[in-house]
């Protein structure tokens, strides 16, 4: 499979419930780069990630992939980490992860990913007993169990403890080092300097893009 080299959004617009969230939004992320999406609550960070994943239809504009498998949409090459953790409480931690690995066509043993996120000893425990932070870690394990070139992370560090934040920084770094593309919506620091920042402003639907190695 050809390597995905760039993901761009051209003139994207999105409205929710009749209200324009953003318009004329452009971005372009090369492989190995991270785009940080910032903005106040309600500025459209989550909407933008859902548009890229194909879970929301953009009101205008399009997404362009360069390289990669032409048969696949951006969403089919992406992992989307949303606010919810898609975890079934009556299945064990291992069963939950094995299902997502199989659905996304991964082949590695689930134990590898679980050990990496620090849940190795909990593989046989029903997911009902996980704390919020542990559920988040299980969701992160999903990203590792089946490799995909694009990661769309919506406030990935929520509920994570300090060690969890460091873990997140490490797996994000490894993903970028493998040549992955990373788009993260965040308020705080993620421990990695983003190649670009996209600032969404709810009062002024003309987003401001800056390319910087700055301020994290």
């Amino acid at each position: 499979m050809a390597v995905l080299t760039r993901l761009s959004g051209i003139d994207l617009a999105c409205s929710r419930a009749g209200r324009l969230v953003f318009k004329n939004l452009n971005f372009s992320v090369d492989r190995g780069q991270m785009l940080a999406v910032r903005g106040a609550n309600g500025a459209g960070k989550s909407s933008l990630l859902r548009v890229i994943a194909g879970l929301l239809r953009p009101g205008a504009g399009r997404l362009v992939l360069e390289g990669g498998d032409e048969e696949l949409s951006p969403g089919e090459q992406a992992h989307y980490l949303g606010h919810q953790d898609p975890i079934k409480p009556s299945l064990t931690v291992g069963e939950n992860l094995a299902f997502w690995r199989d659905l996304f066509g991964g082949s590695d043993a689930t134990a590898t990913a679980l050990n990496m996120v620090g849940l190795g000893t909990l593989a046989d425990v029903p997911a009902l007993y996980l704390s919020a932070g542990q559920r988040r870690r299980l969701s992160l394990a999903r990203l590792l169990a089946a490799p995909r070139p694009v990661w769309l992370l919506d406030e990935p560090n929520s509920a994570l403890d300090e060690a969890g934040q460091m873990l997140l920084t490490r797996i994000m770094g490894e993903h970028l080092a493998r040549g992955g593309i990373l788009i993260a919506a965040t308020h705080g620091a993620l421990g990695i300097a983003p190649a670009q920042e996209l600032v969404l402003n709810p009062d002024r639907p003309l987003p401001h893009v800056q390319t910087s190695e700055s301020t994290v």
């Binding site: 929710r16 194909g54 989307y80 949303g82 919810q84 898609p86 199989d102 996304f104």
Partner: protein, 221 residues
Amino acid sequence: MSPLFALLRRDLKLAVRAGGGAAIGVLFFLIVVTLAAFAIGPDLALLARIGPAILWLGALLSTLLGFDRLLSLDYEDGSLDQMLLARVPLELALCMKVLAHWASAELPLIIATPLLGVLLNVDPVGSAAVALTMLVGTPALTFIGLIGAALTVSLRRGGLLLAVLVLPFNIPVLIFGVAASTAALSGLSFAAPLGILLAISLVSAVIGPVAVAVALRQGMD
């Protein structure tokens, strides 16, 4: 493991684990049939005559209990989002969900039917006819339920609305299911109503997943 088989296996596992609700339908079926027998009284001839209709009605009402779990649980915890990102056609994924739901919630009803037929003094031939017509007709109920589940997926606790939405569309299945069963008892042609029932199931199996996949893709916002 192939993605579709993984989905089927997960849904079957969820159905039989704690809180999965696989047994609820059968218990409800038992209660409805028992209540009907009490309400009608010990007139064995009357029970035998209307028994197939009571069995069908009981099974129809029992199927309603499970539909609100069919999609809404996956919607609420974000699993449905992830399924849209998988490299499998959503239509086939929905067929897997329907298959798992049918096997865990409706197959037990069909198996219980001959036993409950005894409670209603239904002739063994009649019970077998009801079970056979259910085998042919319940797929239609499930696919119609899937459409209802998709329409109410974004409503929290939309189960009651779902039942009200779905029931009118189950009328043809009920009519031909009972017609085939009573035809078998009275020696009339069994094949014609059964054939129509089969046709309803096949049409809903073709239209249901496609329509629901379109609805889910359009309605994600």
